[in-house]
């Protein structure tokens, strides 16, 4: 159906360590999935296998019906560049490039002329609350601002799926929340799916559902309660009509009530520059 990314019976071991012991996972278009679990349980490994960074020892990965885990490194690399976006904990921005060129880089790598790439990159700054930060270098940005630049970079080439490995891990609670809001809203607004690895239940709460990884296996996934984020002022954002399954909140470690009151600097929903074209 409308599963964008499907992993079947994914297995991966490092020597004696079984990092993944046969994981099945499917991510639908526009869906935001949080992967949680204790340290060393295999979250990053799962993410890397799904994103074509690592070849699983067993199982298959399909992107829009195409099997990608068997592709050669060159093809997977091209795939990562064009169909996937990545947000890591930190350190992904090139320190010597101004923010706008960091964002434009994936487009330029894809052959978009420089002037056009930079113009398209700039369109992302205002929606992400990065007014007049275009020419700053990553060293001159705060951690949260740098992560927002990274989000812009992940989304600029209109990927089908955005992968984020502890994107808020290096940020304080409040900045992390704000960054997560922007990440979720921006991906939804661009019809991209999102897979986030996180330790923080508050971060996971922004997603449509959470899957738990324990010792390389998935626990039963649990969709989040109806409506995205009851208390957030962003609730009326463009993704409000996203495909959220309703149902009880079983295994998810989400707080039962609304999210704790969070001030939203800027507060407005994220309207990434949407031109409908996918790179």
């Amino acid at each position: 159906m409308n599963d964008v990314l499907v992993g079947r019976a994914l297995a991966k071991r490092f020597g004696q360590t079984v990092a993944l012991g046969g994981v099945d996972i499917a991510v639908r278009a526009g869906e935001a999935v949080a992967i949680m679990g204790p340290s060393g349980s295999g979250k990053s490994t799962l993410l890397h296998c799904l994103a074509g960074i690592m070849k699983p020892d067993g199982g298959e990965v399909h992107l829009l019906g195409r099997r990608i885990d068997a592709m050669g490194e060159r093809k997977r690399s091209a795939l990562r560049r064009t169909r996937f976006g990545f947000v890591f904990q930190f350190g992904q921005l090139l320190p010597e490039l101004p923010a706008e060129e960091n964002v434009a880089l994936p487009l330029m790598l894809g052959g978009v002329p420089r002037a056009q790439a930079v113009r398209r990159a700039r369109e992302w700054f205002a929606p992400l609350g990065l007014h007049s930060m275009e020419a700053r270098r990553p060293g001159e940005l705060s951690g949260g601002q740098a992560q927002r630049v990274a989000i812009a970079r992940a989304l600029v080439s209109r990927p089908a799926v955005v992968f984020a490995d502890e994107p808020t891990g290096a940020l304080d609670q409040q900045t992390g929340q704000e960054t997560m809001r922007l990440l979720v809203e921006a991906t939804k607004h661009n019809d991209a799916s999102l897979i986030v690895v996180t330790h923080d239940p508050n971060v996971a709460a922004w997603c449509d559902r959470t899957v738990e990884v324990r010792d390389g296996h998935l626990l039963a996934g649990a969709p989040h309660p109806a409506g995205p984020h009851p208390a957030g002022p962003h609730a009326a954002g463009p993704h409000a009509a996203g495909p959220h399954a309703a149902g009880p909140h079983a295994a998810g470690p989400h707080p039962a009530g609304p999210h704790p009151a969070r001030p939203h600097p800027g507060g407005e929903a994220v309207h990434g520059p949407k031109d409908g074209t996918r790179a």
Partner: protein, 647 residues
Amino acid sequence: MNLDLTWRLLKGGGRRGLLGTWLTLGAVAVATALLLFAVAANFAFGARAERTAWRNPVPAASGAVAVEASRYDFVRDRAITVIDLAALPGESPAPPPGLPRFPAPGEVWLSPALAALARELPAGELADRYPGPEGVLGDAALVHPGELVAVVGHAPDAPAMTAQRSEDWIIAKPPVKVASLAGEPSEDAEAYQVLSAIASVLMVVPLLVFGGAAARLTVARRDQRLAALRLVGATPGQVVAMTVAEAVIVALAGALVGTAVFALCVPLLAGIQMQGGPWFAGDLFPPPLVLAGVLVAVPLLVGLSAVAGLRRVVVSPLGVAKRETPPAMRFVRVLALIAVLAAFPMLSQNTSVTVVVVALALAFLCVNLAGPWVVGVIGRITAASARGPARLLAGRRLVDDPRSAWRTVSGVALTGFVAGFLGLLSPAAFDEGAAGPPALRVTAPAGQAEEVAGRARERLGAADVQATVKTAANGVVVATLHGTPGVAALDRARTALAGLVPGRTPTTKTDDQRFGIEVLADVRVGTIVVLSVSFLVAIASSGITATSSVLDRRQTYALLRLAGTPLETLDRARRAETLIPLAVMGGGAILVGAFCAIPFMIGGVNAVGMATLGGCVVLGFAGVIGAGALSRPLLRAVTADPAPRPD
């Protein structure tokens, strides 16, 4: 305390940290070995000059004990130095170095190589010229082990010790009364020393730059961690002490390894032909004190360089952690270069050597100072004009850290300076040998030309050499050999005519040019040696810096690769980041070097110099590309890490 922590930092740096340490050690070893070579060369030429001082007599104002004269003889295509000695009546003078006693009249002493050659060739070709050798000369009398020297004893009133000799001081030295055989280093020996001093300057400056790059490699691996230490409250003193201790320990080990490498290479280096032959291995070992000095100076310099590299961390704990934009280079750097260059046209061939060497060293250092500024400008232009990602990355990187980019190419660029300097100076080739059959010429004493010619005919006839003997203007007697005689016939003729005119050697036109040819060969060998050393240094340092730049940026590279950036793009960016400044700076340095050479040019530009230059350009580019390619596996390994961490 600090040392303990240092040791743990050194060991605890992980595999990649250790890689940096090993690279530093290797780089310091190479630098030390080459530095010892550059220093030793001066002492080696000095030793040669000292050992041959006795052949360059100092006229005695009073208290003369002996008469000394010299001339050159030739066998095959080699020169023989013939020293004529006569003791004056009175107490016997002290013998010259390498001889057990002062030669009595009629005695002949040959150098080992000449004695061997005399035994090897038929007597009529060489041995008969120096009949009944008394013994062989010791090494203390010789420039090099293969040198051909004959010492001949005479009575003070013998014709050889009284007759007029050639006016040309290069060909012969007339009899001189001396008070001792100590003598003084000859002018040409001193000229060689000056040239070797210049060569040393040309080699040492890139070496210093290289040493600095090596030191920074340690620091680069540490500065993040040290910045973290600063953040948790280590005092600047502690941070500096730890870094310096680490750098110095590694550098000392490297210097010791380098000394061993140098010692192992001495037999090879001794084979380099200079002044007509190879070297005594002993000449190439620098004196112990100098060796000790190098072993102290190298770690010291590396330590200082490490401190300089750490300045930013110490000044601000956040300096490294936050990766701020470094302050822009000052234009003063370029002004300094222009100022020094402006002084060059005032120099000439007559300027004192010290001034020239100092000016050259200054020009060299200023090229090094101006380098980063120019690299910054190049980077700005590259970034502004870039269309694709590789060039953009390269340009931004050049702007971000012009110093490190300059370090990658500085060695080769400075070699360009050397090549430009030497390329313009290398003398044109001699037109080898006169056409036609060989002719031996000797100047007869005034009014005796006919008589000398007659005796020459007799001697040649007796030796069975077909030749026509004629007299020419200025009392020159010319014996033209018939047909196309081989070298053996020519040497028979030489031997037959030996002693025909006391104190004079019959020579061919080629013989007369022998010294020019030898000096030319030496200049070429010297150029090649200097350029080889510069290139080794340059390529090694570009390899080192390429490696350390991969290590420094491994996390970013890895994350870019994860996000799908092709390895080739990263590699292209890396290459552009080196080759663009290399092309501009290398070309610029060649021009500056050539400009500095203009005041000393003899004659025009010539093919040999240009060929050397061309070769340098090709080698430089190939070497830097090769050295950069060597770090590609490292780049691949670093970017293959699926979970890159700061460390």
